[in-house]
């Protein structure tokens, strides 16, 4: 069974933070088209501050908990709670584990997704981060279910997150600020789905790189 060590994987959160900070302007620009243009700024603030707090010795669940705390207590907006709960859900699923294998990783993703759904009011298809997250989890699960190696499942997860992100272009926003635009929200990527696909893609890459063997 392929697995990564929880204790050695905290660096993934720093990698995610780097990607988010690097995409600050891009995320804000997307957000500006149908939102208020601060998605990148707020995300970079939260993830950047987390990166400063991490010293590289954390386990994956510890690092995720630090990220969650910063997002929940300092960021606000809608992304603070949504991503805050997502990462706390993920952390919770793995906090007892020494090692994260293909099944546990799936459970971790599931727990994160459940938390997001719980606090938010959106469904898949509403042009939110769920549209990147849900298909990514499905793709991962079904690859594992088909007996594919974990690395392949992670690739599938990343690809599905990106495809999911792109699918939001044709959607009409049903929740959040953009929802008031109705038809005018069509034709633009959802900023949350975009940041979510960056997060999940980087997560998948980070795990893949750490797989033994």
């Amino acid at each position: 069974m392929e697995r990564i060590s929880n204790a050695d994987a905290g660096g993934i959160v720093a990698e995610i933070a780097r990607v988010i900070v690097a995409n600050k302007a891009y995320l804000s620009e997307i957000d500006g088209k149908i939102g208020d243009g601060d998605h990148g700024v707020n995300m970079a603030k939260g993830f950047g501050r987390t990166a400063e707090k991490l010293d590289g010795t954390e386990s994956l669940d510890e690092a995720m908990s630090v990220l969650s705390d910063v997002l929940m207590s300092e960021i606000g907006g809608s992304m603070g709670p949504l991503y805050g709960m997502m990462f706390s859900g993920m952390a919770e699923a793995i906090e007892e584990a020494w090692e994260i294998d293909a099944v546990l990783f799936g459970d971790m993703l599931q727990n994160g997704l459940d938390e997001v759904k719980d606090i938010g009011s959106a469904d898949v298809g509403d042009k939110t981060l769920l549209d990147a997250y849900a298909p990514a989890l499905d793709a991962y699960r079904s690859a594992i279910g088909d007996g594919k190696p974990m690395a392949e499942a992670l690739d599938a997860m990343r690809a599905a997150a990106e495809a999911g992100r792109d699918s939001t272009i044709d959607m009409i926003a049903k929740v959040g600020r953009a929802s008031r635009l109705g038809e005018r929200s069509r034709g633009v990527l959802d900023a949350g789905a975009t940041s979510c696909s960056l997060i999940l893609g980087t997560l998948a890459e980070g795990v893949k790189r750490r797989l033994d063997g």
Partner: protein
Amino acid sequence: MAAKAGTGPAAAVGSARSEGGVPLRFGDDLLLWASWLYYEEGLTQSDIARIIGVSRASVISYLADARERGIVNIAIKTEKLRSLTIAKALQEHFGLKDCLVIPGEGGGRSPFESLGSGGAQALRSIIKPGDTIGVGWGRSVLAAAERLSVDGLQDVRVVQATGSTSAHVPYTPAACATAMATAIRAECIPISAPAIVSRRELRDMLVQETPVQEQLASLEELNRIVFGIASLRPNSTLYSSGFLNDTPKFRDAYSGAVGAIAGHYIDDMGRRIDGPLDGRIIGISLEQIAATPQRIAIASGIDKVPAILAALRGGFVNVLITDAATGAGILSADGREIQPARAAATPVPETGTALPARSSVKKFLNTPEDAVDEALEGAVAEHAAFLRPVRDSNRALIARNGPREGKVGLVIGGGSGHDPCFLGYVGRGMADAVAIGNVFASPPPGPIFDCTRAVNRGAGVLHLFGNYSGDVMNFEMAAEMAQMEGIEVSTVVTTDDIASSAAEDRSGRRGVAGNLFVFKVAGAACDRMMPLSQVELLARKANRRTFTVGVALESCSLPETRRPLFMLGEGEMEVGVGVHGEPGVLRQSVETADDTADLVVDRILSEMDPARGDEVALLLNSLGSTPLMELYIVGRRVRQRLKARGISVARSWAGHYCTSLDMVGMSVTMMQLDEQLRDLLDHPSDTPAFRIG
């Protein structure tokens, strides 16, 4: 993916060229531009006058000035080109070691010729004795090599960076390397194998062959590499050269790619994309390129912006040679605006030219990231008579004269950028505490909870805020936290913005300037010691009877970006705009104040459906930059309309009550009054921004 590198931003830069003015992308140096066109492009003074949009006399004076100031020394100094604003911005933004930007507009030469001249000029100062230089292939690289001639360099080697192709183009890998070696009198090391072979095993065998092995080994010794960046458009060198098979299946495999370097596909972040070419390329690898100390990319073209940006992000380039339009496009696609040209120091064109379009909004700020905290620090000091921090953070403020035993506590809150909303409404008779978030972002649960706990005096707490998903989530979490401590919390969200959703979906509408009336009514009810259930009912009633429509003339800009959130055309206005710059219901040509007022009044009255003899409270609110003068003009017409309808304005206010940073625009709010609401509106209140009695 293409959306990222965005034709949008690039186009925006292109359009930033104001007629008659100096195009932004030429930086601030008119002299340099004129000199380039004259000496490098060989244009006549009249042609230059036409292109720059000044008189021929001005051109003559530019050129004279340029000679005098040593810009022109027969050849234009590369230093001057580097000093172009765009080059500087690119260097800074991407941490480049060097950057050369060719003015690149005007003149009859093809883009490759101009770029080649610039590239040759740069290489002349870059190449040193003892160098081992890798040379990629493509039109730009060949153009640079053909224009380069350097004598007297010792011990220089040129290494062909990729294997060879049989393509019927002049700029094959071998041709490029040979031309470069000839230009600098260097030894040329070819790669005696195809760039791409049909099978992996074949590659593995070929690279074992002694000559190839030796040639490839020299790629490990590069101290510089010069290469082009391929875009993936259909007529890209990559395909037209026959370097690759342009089959649908092949393209599918690389659908995530935005460009290619030395035959390696990369995605928008500059990461390698795996595909059918894996293990079949003979030549330099991406890792080898990244490991080469100096990595010089020569590339231009708006269609290449995504590819160049990806290469920059991937760290494959530390010296960039491009043209101004492309450079501006790259910066723009990565979210960086270029400071506009300031032509004041250079001769001013004589005709009445338009001011250059501003792309960066001027603001009184220190560090943008500190704007919210510094503003709060100032506001808390300014209004110290009314409020103080609940604990040690200015993100949760409590009224000095508010909470008292047995009184329902009123907690309001929201993002920053709406001043005097929300903290201006904290004080006796209105809110007891306010939680404040970042610009346009809800506060997190922490400060809301702190406020809730601080104002609870045994009669429960009302959470009252605008209806935005972020606020709803954060207040909900804070309410849960408070309820766990046994504090009774009720929640009312304001939904007065007519434009934000249809009448049937009242609960989906957002809360805007009507906040003022709802806060006032709820605060008065609290101050009169009404029980929580009744306060809640009254807040709902006030909200139900309050309607707002906003109209924007210009976008606001966030402190951290200083860029407009949205663009309205010269003669356009946005009707129904939200206080975060959310687009409204329609964009139309700017009307007179009276026509605009009519539009707004029509919408409000059709929803309110008042009877003759009804009374309203009226709020004429500036969204930030619209002056009181204009509010009065609009208000005058609003009153005329109401009078004609037999409605009296019982109470009214005009000014800044719920703003959207520096947005130019206004909103009109009306609350349909009854005895009870008017009474509560008249109840004394004493807050920084709203005083009654």
